[in-house]
Symmetry: C2
Subunit: 256 residues, 2 copies
C-alpha cells in the first residue's frame, strides 16, 4: 500500500512559478464489516490497519479486549476488514445509543454513555507515578522529530506510547483519532501493561481523546497542541495528567 | 455563550514551574433535531450556530437551499437546534446511504454518493477566472493573521470566503469541517453568489472538503496546510483550483 504518492505540481515563490514533484499523503477508505455486516468506513492512512480496527472497536466500546474478537481478516488491497465478534452484546448496546460526531480527525461516533462507564472505573484510581517534567520535555522533543510522513507531506498526525524512557510504538495517520486508535490496538494486540505509560500526540486533546485513553486506563497524555475546556475538566475528574503545547523548552500542565 | 474560558494551570519552562491563568477553547455539544427527531450531535465552537446547522445540512446533502427549510430554532443555552424541512425526500435518501466517518475535525458522515451528484453538475463547468497568485498570497497572509481565538488558545481552525479582494466572512471552530460549514451556511443565508469567490482555510484539504465546496459550486480553495492525494484527484476531475501550504511567500499549486 502506498502511504505517499508523488504528484507533479507547481510551486509559487515570490512571483516565480516552478514545476516540481511533491510528496502527497494518501487518503485511504477502509470499511469495517462486523459479523458480515457493513459497520463503518474510516478515512485513514493505510498503515497498521489491523491495529487500527482493534483500537477503533475498543474506543467505540464494542470490544473490551482481544478476547472479544473471534477473527479478524484485513483485505488491504480491497479496502476492507472482516471482524467477527464472540459476543454482539456490546455492539448491539452501542448501536442503540446516541451518536456524537466528533471534533476528531478521522473518527467519529463516540458514545457519550462511555463517560459514565469510565468514571465508575476511574474515580478512585490513584496516580501511578510522579511526573518528571524535564524527562517529559525530552521525550516529546524526541517524538516531535520522529514523523517521517509528516516531514515529507505535512499531512499527518502522530501518536506514540512511551514508558517514560523509550517510545515503544509510534503511529501516523491523516486522522488524529486513527493514529491514537492504532496505538490502542497495538497495546491490546501485544497485551502491553499501560500502567506507567504515557501517550504522546501531535493532535489537540478533546474530551474524546481523554475518554479513549481513560477506557484503556492510560493516565498520562502529552500533546504538542492545545486542550479544550471539556478535556481539562474530564481529565481533572478522571485523574489523568494532561500536558499541552509541549515543544522545545515549554509546556502547559493542565492537570498534574 | 463562552467561546474561551480561563483556567488556572501550570506552565513549565526550562525546569521552572509557574502558576498561570490560561485561555482555553470551549468544546460545545450541539444536537440537531430534524422534524422533532434527534439527528446528530456536533462537537463545535459555539458561534454562528444557525449558519453551522444550515451549512451542515447542505454539506450532508439534506438541503439544497434555504427554501428546503421551513423553520429553524436555535436554543444555544440548551445545546440544541430544531429544524423542520419542507420535504424529507433528501434526508430519507441519505439515511439509507452508506456513511463514511471522516478525516475531519468536527464533522463526519459524508455520503459518498455525493461525488456522483457533484460530478454531474461540474464536469463541463468552466473556470470563472484567471488566478492572480500574488493576490492570493496577500489574501492568505491577511487570513492567517485574522484569528483571535487561535491567537488566544491555539485550539481552532479558521475558514473564510473572499471575493479575491476582501475577506467577506470569517469563521472559527474547533473542527475544520464545522468552520467550513459555518461559511457555507452564511453563503446560503445571505444568498451570496459564489462565482469568483475563494475559500481560505487553515485546515488540511481532504476529499470531503473538496466535495463540500463543489456542492456549493465554489471553484477555488486555498489552505495553509496540506492536501491529500484523493483531494487533488477530485479537484482535477471537478476542475477546482486548489492551493496548499500557502504561507508568507510560498504556496503549492495542486491544481490550477
Amino acid at each position: 500500500m502506498d502511504i505517499i504518492k508523488r504528484y507533479k505540481i507547481k510551486r509559487y515563490e515570490d512571483n516565480y512559478i516552478d514545476d516540481i514533484e511533491d510528496c502527497i499523503v494518501v487518503e485511504y477508505l477502509f470499511t469495517i464489516y462486523i459479523d458480515n455486516e457493513e459497520f463503518i468506513t474510516l478515512i485513514c492512512t493505510p498503515t497498521s490497519l489491523r491495529s487500527l480496527v482493534i483500537g477503533f472497536l475498543h474506543s467505540e466500546g464494542i470490544i473490551k479486549s482481544m478476547n472479544d474478537i473471534s477473527s479478524i481478516e484485513v483485505y488491504d488491497n480491497d479496502g476492507y476488514v472482516k471482524v467477527n465478534l464472540r459476543d454482539r452484546k456490546l455492539l448491539d448496546e452501542k448501536i442503540n445509543q446516541k451518536r456524537a460526531i466528533t471534533t476528531g480527525c478521522g473518527k467519529g461516533s463516540i458514545y457519550y454513555k462511555a463517560l459514565d462507564e469510565v468514571s465508575e472505573n476511574k474515580n478512585n484510581k490513584e496516580k501511578d507515578r510522579y511526573i518528571d517534567y524535564k524527562n517529559i520535555m525530552s521525550l516529546i522533543n524526541k517524538f516531535n522529530n520522529k514523523s517521517d510522513i509528516f516531514f515529507k507531506t505535512g499531512g499527518v498526525h502522530s501518536v506514540g506510547i512511551s514508558d517514560f524512557n523509550e517510545i515503544l510504538f509510534f503511529e501516523e495517520d491523516i486522522g488524529r483519532h486513527n493514529a491514537l486508535d492504532k496505538i490502542i490496538g497495538r497495546c491490546l494486540e501485544e497485551k502491553i501493561d499501560v500502567n506507567n505509560k504515557v501517550i504522546l500526540t501531535s493532535g489537540r486533546i478533546t474530551s474524546e481523546i481523554i475518554l479513549k485513553c481513560a477506557k484503556l486506563n492510560i493516565n498520562h497524555i502529552v500533546s504538542r497542541s492545545a486542550a479544550t475546556d471539556k478535556a481539562i475538566e474530564l481529565a481533572r475528574k478522571l485523574n489523568l495528567s494532561v500536558i499541552g503545547f509541549a515543544r522545545n523548552t515549554k509546556m502547559n500542565i493542565y492537570n498534574e
